[in-house]
Symmetry: C2
Subunit: 440 residues, 2 copies
């Protein structure tokens, strides 16, 4: 969690747009992503977002001067391999951050060389930031778990294991897409409450889930758990994550082995990875409701209690097809703070995931689970905002939504703000619903 | 399902051991695997098992003569990339099978050249057969689902969705290991039925599950379901698969999102992939209990009803540490036939997995779920054989097992036999339990 010169709020970049106080990508952020020129078939390159530009690390390695110890790091990045940086751990990652911060700062002697390595973000397309081997979705949002549980079990919304076990399940890696990719409404089996037989049709209760994504850095060997004290050493950075969900498909399929087709048709990740170093000023205490159980020792440490959470403000925004046609801006459906929503810290997730011996690998992804705030208007899904579909959300243009309609664009936003530090953000995490395939 | 000259039971190989009628790898089988010399650090190579030898395809490409159209296929295989063959589909796979069958047959002019390309299986080590991107475990064993369900719900063992939905869930790819790798007993949280709080300790109810593994060949694009008629075109081949399970961890963690740490500490795959072509003589009708629901149209076809199942005899064998020390051979715990156990065919699993738009990729793995036969002695797990631990299994040497003990070696065997065809087998799928890590 160390704060260093790269976090100095007075630091300004010679990339003018990076000094916009409302921007997501000041010089204090420096997130990594994989990009190419829009519409090209070029290989994906690693870049660093700075203001409204991308610093192309392939070009930057060739055209600028870097500390000698960064050579292997820059070689891997120039080859388009973010997983190699993830595997290498905090030491080269911090060294690279320091070098990038200096090179992009006002007054840098590298400005002339690096100015040639900038590409406008408006001219690029981005893909998933790394090769994601395995993806696990957790369920750390206690207010979400409580609200959803209440829909099924009004008197006993939280199951007894919730306060002991960081509940999670394995998800589908292949269908994780980057912000901007369309999301096709899934077909699937559902069964009405009063029906004998299921029907096969397009999902009628299509929803989003506001999550953070945690990307694994160095892995661990099979059979060798990672202790809680070392757990953050295995994290690389954080993204936004939308775990699109087919609620009606889920209700019919999920017993006894959990969600499957209701989740695996698409998940959207924000393509810029904000590193653990960039987030250092925005760590927060683990907040738990009074009376919650003390974590078992393998999940507990002073560091995770005192600064294990992430103070990120998360927002969900909707623009319906009608709003788009009328030129109306998106509307905010909710906002919540991750540190007020999450019952478990990222370090606790690493410790739990590995405690039985499961091996993590660089680039693996954890979803936080839906991060709903304590208030009903802070919910991170339509299932919650519409009370299970019973109270549709009314939009300013008169439309209503219980669940998502074809043509809807759902956008997540994430922002870190703290007095004495420069605001940083996560960039876009958006997807537009397209119609289901025709059924035979 | 076509039968051709490669299935001729009279076909013999110039590799003498392949003509042993009790062997798993006659010339009619020709499964693919990845191997290297035992104890070396050489790159993994693709080989084909023949008798007690492996044909090294890297060497075979260089030293023998092959049809010109196989050049790209052999180039990829010589580079150690089985996924490329998987992606290419049935046409090059069948052409390669025909060429290998001719080259390894008695009287082949290639014998002299290929004899130099054989490596004894006793001198090699094998790894997982391909890069497994995503792994899904299904639950197709209706007798298993019924027996396990009865332990929890005596009056209502099968949930209402079972006969409609091919139940499955996402598993962990990173911890899939090849036969022979040790399996470390996991640590984890469990809670006794009468306890207020969970405890953290080594798993006390460690179990195995007898499954088949289905490896995906060509994938499908995100958002584009694979119809049932085309589903088998997306399968490459079949393995044995042991889905090791921590039953006590599972019981505490699995609500509401399914199994997680109880399954992801290790899964063992047999390293030789028996292709769909090799299995052509051993296809069988889909067998379902009288009165079962008709599958929904997207899961139904004449071909899958009439020959969608696989007639594989599956066996589980146990050798305890005490038996090994005493020089006693393993004992068979159970046997069952896959086609008497599975309520869904592999093609139905492909159609279901993709119907919501999920994309499969070459090398993805499906587990069948535990394939227990209809009789209680045919059960594919100790949970079933010991009636939830209440009736320990008595071994010939006087030991008993409700669940697995440290030092136990559990082996799966799989054999296909049919009148008029040469018996083929799957090779080894074994793992030995080692003690859990010490707890702090």
């Amino acid at each position: 969690m160390r704060i260093d010169a790269t976090h100095d709020p007075a630091l300004r970049s010679w990339v003018a747009s990076a000094n916009d106080p409302a921007g997501d990508f000041p010089i204090q952020n420096l997130p990594f992503g994989r990009f190419r020129r829009a519409g090209s078939n070029e290989p994906w390159r690693i870049g660093v977002a700075i203001g409204d530009q991308v610093l192309d690390l392939h070009a930057a390695r060739a055209h600028a001067t870097w500390p000698a110890e960064l050579a292997p790091t820059l070689d891997a990045l120039a080859a388009g391999d973010l997983n190699a940086l993830m595997a290498a751990g905090a030491v080269p990652r911090r060294a690279l951050r320091a070098a990038l911060s200096q090179a992009l700062a006002e007054g840098s002697a590298q400005q002339g060389a690096l100015a040639r390595c900038l590409v406008p973000q408006s001219a690029i397309e981005l893909t998933v930031p790394c090769a994601i081997g395995d993806y696990t979705d957790f369920y750390t949002g206690i207010h979400h778990a409580t609200s959803v549980g209440r829909l099924f079990r009004p008197d006993n919304p939280l199951l007894p294991n919730y306060e002991w076990v960081p509940i999670g399940y394995h998800g589908r890696s292949s269908s994780i897409v980057a912000s901007g990719a369309p999301v096709r409404r899934p077909l699937g089996q559902t069964r009405a409450a009063d029906a004998q037989r299921p029907t096969f049709a397009p999902c009628q209760r299509l929803d989003y889930e506001v999550e953070l994504g945690f990307l694994v850095g160095p892995g661990n060997a099979l059979g060798e758990p990672v202790g809680i004290e070392a757990a953050e050493d295995h994290l690389f950075g954080v993204t936004l994550f939308n775990d699109w969900s087919a609620r009606d498909v889920q209700a019919w399929e999920y017993q006894p082995l959990g969600p499957f087709l209701s989740k695996n048709f698409a998940s959207t990740i924000s393509p810029w990875v904000v590193t653990m170093e960039a987030l250092a000023p925005f760590r927060a205490p683990l907040q738990r409701p009074a009376g919650s159980a003390q974590p078992l020792p393998y999940l507990d440490s002073q560091a995770t209690r005192e600064q294990g959470s992430l103070a990120v403000r998360l927002e969900a925004w909707l623009q319906t097809g009608a709003m788009r046609a009328a030129g109306e801006a998106p509307v905010r459906l909710s906002q919540a703070r991750a540190d007020e929503a999450a019952f478990w810290t990222p370090a606790q997730l690493v410790a739990h995931h590995t405690v039985g011996g499961c091996n993590l690998q660089p680039g693996d992804l954890f979803g936080s689970g839906t991060l709903s705030g304590p208030g009903p208007e802070q919910a991170g899904s339509l299932l919650e905002l519409s009370r299970g579909g019973k109270e549709p959300v009314r939009l300013p243009n008169g439309e209503t939504r219980s669940f998502l309609a074809d043509g809807d664009t759902l956008m997540l936003r994430g922002v870190c703000e703290r007095d004495g530090f420069r605001r940083i953000g996560f960039g876009d995490c958006a997807g537009t619903i397209v119609a289901a395939p025709a059924t035979a």
